[in-house]
Subunit: 107 residues, 2 copies
């Protein structure tokens, strides 16, 4: 199992819209996340920043992320979410949410 | 079980010191965390921000946090960590790390 911590900004005028969207995430989107071996997935918000934590239980993360990105319902969902977000300038090439560095873990 | 997402800043000149400390957290500190019913605890770093995720499995969080804060070894540990950190102005009264708002969860 591999843990991920990801960070992105929310546009100040889109905070409520983003929160409302996430109170009712579409079932197909949730099913695709599960199908891509993501579990224990939480998104937190504070002061303009979204932080997400999730665990990946598959054995080909890049393949699973491609699978997720190719799902048509997920694409429609992202078309609603992405305009709310403002990615970090310092994100790596190809990233939207920026991956954080794990500096400590205790089971 | 209750999930927590917490955020705090790291002073730019203390990033390496903080990371080094967390590569070798004292066993007594880890034991106290466990004794206080915290599990699956991860700290991530990106662009001056620390984000922590953990799960609380006890039934009196405030009591357990007081217990942790009263442990002498934990106090010595915090005396090393806190000077590396810069708490958010917007944190709530009594907070050091600022608690984030959970906006989404999928098991």
């Amino acid at each position: 199992m591999r843990r991920f911590g990801m960070v992105i900004k929310l546009k100040p005028d889109k905070v409520e819209e983003y929160k409302a969207l996430h109170r009712n995430v579409w079932p197909e989107v949730l099913r695709t996340i599960k199908d891509c071996h993501i579990q224990n997935y939480t998104i937190f918000y504070k002061d303009g920043y979204l932080f997400s934590y999730y665990e990946y239980t598959g054995n080909n993360y890049e393949e699973d992320m491609k699978k997720m990105a190719s799902d048509p319902v997920t694409q429609k969902w992202w078309a609603l979410c992405k305009p709310c977000q403002e990615p970090l300038e310092t994100r790596k090439e190809g990233e939207w949410w920026a991956e954080m560095e794990e500096v400590f873990h205790l089971d």
